[in-house]
Symmetry: C2
Subunit: 279 residues, 2 copies
């Protein structure tokens, strides 16, 4: 099978590695607006060749849109215009806007809206790794809007990647990811800024940073080119969760201000309930 | 050398394992208010025997106070009363209060105030692990208040654990840890509560939780018996940092509310500066 990957970075590159390794992809064509990424992707063996969009799509059985979500949304109608039997899947972190953008497209059925729940704080072709995606969830949204054969092919892809599938509509997806992904990124960015603000006064502080700090702040390395469009598109849900999160932080603040340590203990015990979810 | 460890949990237990393995501790005596912990510590080979506090201290060359910090502060004068040549070290997450509490003690010189910058979100004897502490920083506070031989022994202990030493006064320590440890815990607790609040409405949400979420929320599993006293004792510093953190989060909120995505990008780029600190 010939696969085109538009956007050869962390996700596109890691998918290519896995699908080549499994023998599912005989040939991977890379498309990327950044010539440095194209060169690097070839060097790293993430893709077999680089082509222009049109030529690549016409030569492919499967097209994977793996650019930042604003670019994916702009490219999807263009790709679908070129499609006949090809299957097109995206891998973006929001789903409502992109689904709406092609709702009335003649070839809507060829598109499958997906979101593999894996990533790291790194980006670009050099961030691509083997063994990505394994044992994580992949979401397929609004599968009833896609042709059955297109859904089946995408299901096969995620199965090969070792992912388990979750089905939901695009709106529910966007609410859920605001809670389990987007707010974690905002918290990390804000925590980094909090601590960097202090760094100006005192360099020695970071000598003490250990695992706990690294764990809560590592997402703050994430790329703005990817995240600004996510926050734009999922603005309402992210604002809801952010307001709730600030309200929760203000409870901790009030406990300290009023020296109400019984309530502080209750808040922490409640937070310990996360053990039910995180193994 | 005979070592007494008061509080045989994550830190005390992991220290015992390392100091036995290195041959530094010939005999480790455990003291713990919780009989279940005593039994478990013996079973796991963390300690060789369990004794009462007085008997243990009198039989020891080194006493390691590894209880939650409120208990450590209450026990330290009692232990120092019993001391003659023994060296006593604590391992607590705040340093100002405990140092002040024995400032005028006759045997103050036998006490070395320390904080090894290692931990996990787990607690109790079963949380003890081999290879803990390695390559992390250990802080020794106000060493000028301790006898030279006591400091030398504690330096040897941390050297054996593979830690590098940082020296500072207790007040500076407490400011720094508010930034690199305590705020991360509050953020994690609050994030867990934010998401658990939502969980009531929708169970499926957690099927989507992946590495980023786990990373920012794992500290929320931490034990309130340990953390409430830390927040009590470091209240002023933690409040300062928490106020700054809420202010930083409000900047993200304002960007989204006003749809000011240029400023949002700036905030994220600034947060990316954490790469200078986290490798």
């Amino acid at each position: 099978m010939t696969i085109s990957i538009i956007g050869i970075g962390l996700i596109g590159g890691s998918m290519s590695l896995a699908l080549k390794e499994k023998g599912f992809a005989d040939r991977v064509i890379g498309i990327d607006a950044n010539p440095v990424h194209c060169k690097k992707a070839l060097e790293l063996g993430l893709v077999d060749e680089i082509k222009e969009l049109k030529e690549a799509v016409l030569a492919s059985d499967l097209v994977i849109l793996a650019t930042p979500i604003n670019a994916a949304e702009a490219l999807l109608p263009v790709v679908l215009d070129l499609c006949d039997k090809q299957v097109v899947m995206d891998v973006g972190s929001t789903k409502k806007t992109i689904c709406e953008s092609v709702a009335n497209h003649t070839h809507r059925g060829r598109f499958v809206a997906t979101h593999p729940m894996w990533g790291t704080e790194y980006s670009g072709p050099e961030a691509a790794v083997k063994g990505a995606f394994e044992d994580k969830a992949a979401v397929i949204c609004s599968k009833e809007d896609s042709d059955a054969d297109a859904v089946a092919l995408v299901e096969q892809v995620y199965d090969l990647l070792g992912m388990h599938l979750v089905y939901m509509n695009a709106e529910a997806h966007d609410v859920h990811v605001a809670y389990v992904s987007h707010i974690s990124h905002i918290t990390s960015f804000a925590l980094a800024n909090t601590v960097l603000e202090k760094e100006r006064e005192e360099d020695a502080i970071f000598e003490l940073a250990s695992g706990g700090f690294e764990s809560t702040v590592r997402l703050a390395k994430s790329n703005p080119a990817m995240w600004v469009p996510i926050f734009m598109q999922n603005r309402d849900n992210v604002l809801d969760v952010l307001n709730e999160h600030i309200a929760q932080l203000r409870k901790f603040k009030a406990c300290l201000e009023k020296e109400n340590y019984d309530y502080l203990k209750e808040l922490i015990e409640n937070a310990n309930g996360i053990k039910r979810i995180l193994k």
